[in-house]
Amino acid sequence: MNGSRASALTLAWRLASFGPRGYPVVPIAIIVITTLLAVFADFIAPHNPEIGVLGERFKPPAWQAGGTETYLLGTDHLGRDVLSRLIFGARVSMIVGFFAVIVAGVIGTALGIVSGYFGGWVDQVIMRITDTWLAFPALIFAIFLAAIVGPSLTNLVVILGAVFWTRYARVIRGEVLSLKERDFVRLAIVANCSNWTIMRRHILPNVINSAVVLASLQLGIVIIAEATLSFLGVGVPPPMPAWGLMLADGKKGMMAGYWWLTVLPGTCIMLMVLAANLLGDWLRVKLDPQLRQL
Amino acid sequence: MKAPLLQLRGLSTHYVSARGTRVVRAVDDVTLTLGAGETLGVVGESGSGKTTLALTILRLLPMAARIVSGQILFEGEDLLTKSDVEMRRIRGKRIAMILQDPMASLNPLFTVGDQVAEPIRVHEGTKRAGAWDRARELLRAVKIPAAETRLRDYPHQLSGGMRQRIVGAIAISCGPRLLIADEPTTSLDVTIQAQYLKLLRELQRAHGLALIFITHNLGIVAKMCDQVAVMYAGRMVESGPVHQIFDAPAHPYTRALLESIPRMGDTDQRLTAIEGQPPDLVAMPGGCAFHPRCPKMMDRCRSEEPPRFDVAAGQSARCWLTAPAGR
């Protein structure tokens, strides 16, 4: 599948590198702004995202007829301010996205290193499990787990982490396999270093690059996964604001023409994912051209 | 005198970059003649333009390349005036080519028989059964044992030497008059190389083929070829009968090439190499392309490109050293 990414990669990279000295200004700006919104949500958001005024339901955005400046982007079916919910939703997306990617990364990298380094039956067992896990659709699995443990932010992070670690394991294992043949690792083995030391000091630093690139690529996928789970009702528990949840609510009002309840959260998701993907592609080219294989 | 089979006159092929800013003169003003049944060796380092020359003759150049001038007279007809359809009828049928890497040349998804029979079916309209029979005969002609079973095999099941023979079989399948072999033995084991060259010579004699043998190996040239053409940076710096050139090379580059071959009984400890690197074709030095590395360089060589001078019977070189008095 390597060639397939090459062509969109060039375009993506050009878009992403649109900035001084080729740094991906736009994606970074988007991510930074979103992070700021997430962190300072309490101060920036004009209204409480979870409590609404029922008398102000379904107000359209300020620039449309019927809208007011109090609710810049309109209100939803419970009279809650859309703008505030979007801002707080950013917090949820970032937290879940960030931590899920880290959890998945840690598990996956660890297993990948162990599997690649020890080889033999350890490798076989881990790889079989990974293959089975991978073959299983992430979302269905996530839904399954969510149905068992119930919705909450922590559960969500754990579930997404548990579902997405396999991608890391596969790739890292491959890298470890080729690293094992390199002289500095062989020397360390000959010098009778403990396995743990070798893995920690020699192998880990060399696979970190790939792990980071994978993580940035996964971020987009994870955000979409969280949004999907919330949309289906097994993600973030209401009344907590999440973009996916807003889409689910918004769907009900679509037939009546309340477009802002779906278009706006969706655009947020799209921008976030686009930024993550562009950043990931840029990182991939920057950190190690060999990683174009990913 | 019999008309020559192939005549190249002032042939030039240039690669032009996308914006038209950079021009690489991959083949620069090449003139040579080849008679029927003769063998011509084309020698040069990588990037000297040998393969581009071959592809130019067959007019199968990539999109960025352009044949800017010259003539290619094959059996009296100028190939540069032919339409695409006419060229296609010539390729594989009247002029054939063997590429360097036999594994890569054969399509992994089709059987050997299918691929050998293919040109026969396309060029001569033979039905499948008849073409299959011809394919079997061809495999026998290139000395492949158990031809019948081999026909049904896939390329990855055969050894490198056998694959190259099959490529040879494909090449002669429609009875071409000219065969161009682009480094056919470079990717073969040394032990197999000799056998393959022997095969090529036999096929040549049996079918009256003219052969253009592209190589960087002067030893092969000495064994196989009647004529030799030496290429450097896209230009043909010397050409002529093999024994004449080997005995008395006129161009300093040819001389350096011959000297760099280690000989049995040499007592020198170090290998003789040619100083310097081949030029970057994008930024060529002015005048004679070889002058930065030439031990006999004169002032003239820096600024003026030498034209072809006749050195002896049938031998010519592009070097100011060979210029007759008064030029």
Binding site: A8, T132, P137, G266, M270 | L106
Partner: protein, 305 residues
């Protein structure tokens, strides 16, 4: 070939086994699966009855064996909401999902492959550039949002297409598009680069040197080779597609197994969730096996591995 088949089937069986273990494990991990498998609002007696039935007092090994034998017998329990065996329920919805997936996959292949070939053969052209943008967007837009936007535009705004349900060709159009478009982009990109690689290969060069007509070079020599990676991708994408069916069916209220899963979650109907997950996994393992066999049929090199 036979050895390859046997090996692949062996792997599939191992995967199925692992799958059952994983599912079993996760259901049991909460401590008291009886809570999941019993209707909400059930009495203590009901809970005890279920515990007995599941044999929760017995060892894990025995429980697992019971679990698997039940599965193999087709006993997946009953749905609380629909009050019927879940297996039946699942099987009744399955054809709808298959239909949708087939339409979406066909759509993505029929759009993706030819445009990929076109883009490769006419490199740098208009088609090529449009394709690249299409591909980039495809990755960043969640399909359920695409579905929602489609509904917004075609149903609410224009009133041309029905926004939910199934039954006619008109009903299938938007869901198939929402489901398939992301794959169309991916297939197009892959076909394009695969085709480019193949067109630059030595055997294509030799085919041209043989004097074969260009159409034959592309259709016979290039196409089959270029298709191999696309097939792999299609196989992998099938798995992702199953993911996406859940949301697309929910958005469009398409009566398939994806929507069944959604209902299972909404109504806290765990047996439904469980059966969907188990059968989904089994289906994927089977489909992967089929794809691998197809592979071997097309590419002779695989057969001799």
């Amino acid at each position: 070939m036979k050895r390859y088949l046997v090996k692949r089937i062996g792997y599939s069986l191992i995967s199925l086994f692992l799958l059952s273990v994983i599912i079993f494990f996760f259901v049991r991990v909460t401590g008291d699966p009886a809570v999941l498998l019993v209707e909400p609002g059930a009495s203590q007696a009901d809970l005890d009855a279920v515990r007995q039935q599941l044999g929760l007092d017995k060892s894990m090994g025995v429980q697992y064996v019971t679990f698997v034998t039940d599965l193999l017998r087709g006993d997946f329990g009953n749905s609380f909401y629909y009050r019927m065996p879940v297996l039946e329920l699942y099987l009744s919805r399955l054809p709808n999902s298959l239909l949708l997936a087939a339409c979406a996959m066909l759509f993505s292949l029929f759009i993706g492959i030819p445009s990929g070939i076109l883009a490769a053969v006419r490199l740098g052209g208009w088609w090529d550039r449009v394709g690249k943008i299409f591909a980039l967007l495809g990755q960043s837009l969640p399909s359920f949002w695409v579905g929602l936007m489609l509904i917004l535009f075609f149903s609410v705004h224009l009133g041309w297409l029905p926004s939910s349900g199934s039954g006619t060709v008109w009903h299938v159009l938007m869901p198939a598009f929402a489901l398939g478009w992301l794959f169309a982009a991916a297939h197009m990109r892959l076909t394009r680069s695969s085709m480019l690689e193949v067109l630059g290969s030595e055997y294509v060069k030799l085919a041209r040197l043989k004097g074969l007509p260009e159409a034959m070079v592309i259709a016979k020599h290039a196409f089959k080779n270029a298709l191999i990676p696309v097939l792999t991708l299609a196989g992998i994408n099938l798995v992702i597609m199953v993911n996406t069916t859940v949301v697309v069916e929910t958005v469009f209220a398409w009566p398939g197994v994806g929507r069944l899963l959604y209902e299972g979650i909404s109504f806290r109907d765990f047996p439904v969730v469980q059966v969907t997950v188990v059968l989904c996994g089994a289906m994927i393992v089977t489909v992967n096996l089929i794809v691998d066999v197809l592979y071997a049929v097309i590419d002779p090199r695989i057969r001799y591995e």
